[in-house]
Symmetry: C2
Subunit: 343 residues, 2 copies
C-alpha cells in the first residue's frame, strides 16, 4: 500500500532546485529558463505528477466542488437533473457531491450544513416536501455561499432559480387536445394553495378561451386527487358516468394521469380515440406506462444544466461584482407518442 504521490517538493529535491521554481515551471510562468522548464516537466511526466487538489483548495479557499441536495435520487426526474448538473459541472472543472433529503426537513437542514462545512463552492437544491422553514438556507446564503434553487424553489430566499413554465405547458397541452378535435376537456387540478396548480389551471383556461370553449367547473376535479391515484380514478369514473361526460382530460401530474387512465380503461374506452389523456409529467409513472398519453415533459436535464450554469457563474464572479439573481423559466416539451399502439 504505497500511498506516495509525488509532490513538487520531491521534484525540486531531485533537481536540486527550489519548489517555487518547480511550481512556476509547471504552470508555464514566463520567467523560467527553458532548460529548467524542460527538466521539470520531464520529471513530472516521468513520475506522473498530479497536483494535490486539496492543497490547492486550501490555498485558493475554493474547493471546485458543488453540492446538490435533492429529495430523492431514485426518481427519474431528479436523476435526470443530476445528469444535467454533472454535465455542466464536469466541463467547468467542478466535482458534484450529491446528497438526498429523502423528503425530510431535518435531513435537509443537516445536509445543507454538511455541504457548507465541506466547503463546497455553491449549492443546488430542490426542497423537500416537508420544508416550510427556511432558516438553514438563510444562514448559509447570508454567509455568502451561492445557492440556486430548481423545480421546488424557495420564494423567501433572494437567489437564482430555475423553474418550468407551467402556464405555457398547460396551455400547449390543452391546445393540443383541442386541436385533436376534443371538445369537452376536463381538468384534474392540483392543490389550490400551490402556485404551480394555479399556473397550470390558468394555462388550461387560456387555451379553452382562445378556442371559444367555455370553462365548466363541473368537469374540474379539485382537492387531493392529484396525490392519490385511487381517488383520481374514482372521481374520473364519476365524471365519465355523469350526464354530460368529458371526452378528454388534462391531468396535473403523472400520478393523477395514471388514475385517470385506469378509470378510462375500466370504462372500456379506447385511448386516445374515445378519450384522450394528457398530463404534466416528471416521469414518475406514466412515462413507462402508456404510449397513448400525451405528456408535458419537465425538462430535467436542461434544468440541471441551467441551474449549474447559474451557480457556476455566481461562484466565479469577481469578488466585488454584483450578480443579480436570475429566475430562469424553462419551456416544457410536448411529448406526443405514437398512438398506434393498441390499448
Amino acid at each position: 500500500m504505497k500511498n506516495s504521490q509525488v509532490t513538487i517538493k520531491d521534484i525540486a529535491k531531485e533537481l536540486g532546485i527550489s519548489s517555487s521554481t518547480v511550481s512556476r515551471a509547471l504552470k508555464n510562468h514566463p520567467n523560467v529558463s527553458p532548460e529548467t522548464k524542460k527538466a521539470v516537466t520531464d520529471l513530472a511526466e516521468k513520475y506522473n505528477y498530479q497536483p494535490n487538489s486539496i492543497a490547492l483548495s486550501l490555498r485558493r479557499s475554493k474547493s471546485n466542488t458543488i453540492g446538490v441536495i435533492i429529495p430523492e435520487i431514485v426518481h427519474f426526474f431528479f436523476s435526470t437533473v443530476i445528469s444535467g448538473i454533472e454535465d455542466i459541472a464536469y466541463s467547468a472543472g467542478y466535482s458534484v457531491i450529491v446528497s438526498q433529503s429523502n423528503e425530510s426537513y431535518d435531513r435537509e437542514v443537516i445536509d445543507t450544513f454538511a455541504l457548507s462545512k465541506n466547503r463546497v463552492d455553491g449549492i443546488l437544491i430542490s426542497m423537500s416536501r416537508e420544508t416550510t422553514k427556511y432558516d438553514h438556507f438563510e444562514t448559509i446564503h447570508k454567509r455568502g455561499l451561492p445557492i440556486v434553487f430548481f423545480d421546488r424553489v424557495c420564494d423567501a430566499i433572494n437567489c437564482s432559480k430555475v423553474v418550468v413554465d407551467d402556464f405555457d405547458g398547460a396551455y400547449q397541452v390543452t391546445r393540443h387536445l383541442i386541436q385533436q378535435g376534443f371538445k369537452r376537456i376536463a381538468h384534474l387540478a392540483g392543490p389550490e394553495n400551490l402556485i404551480l396548480s394555479k399556473h397550470r389551471m390558468d394555462g388550461y383556461k387560456k387555451a379553452l378561451k382562445e378556442h371559444s370553449l367555455e370553462f365548466d367547473e363541473s368537469i374540474i376535479i379539485r382537492g387531493r386527487a392529484a396525490d392519490n391515484e385511487t381517488l383520481a380514478k374514482q372521481l374520473t369514473t364519476q365524471l365519465l358516468n355523469s350526464a354530460n361526460p368529458p371526452d378528454a382530460m388534462f391531468a396535473i401530474n403523472d400520478r393523477a394521469a395514471l388514475g385517470v387512465m385506469k378509470a378510462v380503461k375500466e370504462k372500456g374506452l379506447k385511448i386516445p380515440q374515445d378519450f384522450a389523456i394528457a398530463g404534466f409529467s416528471n416521469w414518475e409513472f406514466t412515462a413507462m406506462t402508456d404510449p397513448a398519453i400525451t405528456t408535458v415533459d419537465q425538462p430535467g436535464f436542461k434544468m440541471g444544466q441551467e441551474a449549474a450554469k447559474l451557480l457556476i457563474r455566481e461562484i466565479e464572479a469577481e469578488k466585488d461584482e454584483v450578480i443579480e439573481p436570475e429566475i430562469k423559466i424553462l419551456k416544457t416539451d410536448l411529448i406526443i407518442r405514437g398512438s398506434s399502439v393498441a390499448v
Copy 2:
C-alpha cells in the same frame, strides 16, 4: 459577500491564547483547564465555528470523500445503487462524488483519474459496457487507492466486488414458474460469452432437472435477442407459433421480457393465466410496465450499501493491516406482483 468563516486563529486571538490550545479545547483534550475549555467552546458557539474540512483533509491526507463511477445516473438500478451508497457513506461521515461514464470507455478512464486527482479516499465503480482494457484501474489500484466493483465487475483486478447471485435467482424464478403449474418453460438467454448468462442458464437448468422436466434446446432463444426488444418479440412469436409451443418464458433481462410480453399479448394470450413471463430485472423497463410479470429483482440499494461498506472498511484499515479482497454475492428477491390486474 462576506466569505469569512471563523478560524481557530480568530478565536485564539480574541481570547489571547494560542491556536493549539483552542484546537485542544475544541476536541476535548484532557490537558485543558475547564475555564479555557468553556471560554473557547462558548466563543466557538457564538461565532458558529466550523472546522475547515479542507485543511483537515490536507493535514490528515484524507478527504473523507468517496468517488462513484456508474454508466449512467438516469437508470433506476444505478440511481438505487447510489442511494444505497449514499446511505452508508453518510452515516460513516463520507461525502459521495458521483460521475457517469455514459457507457464510454474514454470517459471512464478520464473519470477514474479525475477522482484520483481529487484525492478521493476510494472508488466504487460499475464498468461501462465498452470497457475491455483495465489499465486505468490497474494504475490507481497499484497506487494504493482502494477500489470496489459492483454489478459490472472487472475480473482482472484483485479487489473486493459485489455481485448478484445469478445462478440462484434464475433457479428460484424458474422453480416459481414450475410451481405455478407451467410445464414447458422457454428461456430467452443472454450472450454466451457473458459469465452472467451462463450462471442464469445453469440456474434455469437446475430447476428443470429438480422437477424432472427435460431441457429442450428448441425452446431456448440464443443470440442477440437479449439486447433487442424487436428481435425478442419476433423470436418469441416464432416459438408461440411452433408445433409444440412453451407455456412460460424465463427472460434474461427486462428488455427481453418486454419483447416477450408484446409477442404474447399480440398472440392474444392472457398473462399470466395462459402464458407466464418471468425475468431478471434491473428495472429498466418492466418494473413500470406490467404487474403480471414476475421479476428477479437486482437489489440495487443493498448492493450500494454493501459496496460502500467494503470500501470504507478498506479505507479505514490500519496502514499495515492486510485486507483480503472479498467477493460479496447478494441474493436476489423474487418479486411476484398481484396477478389480478387485467392484462
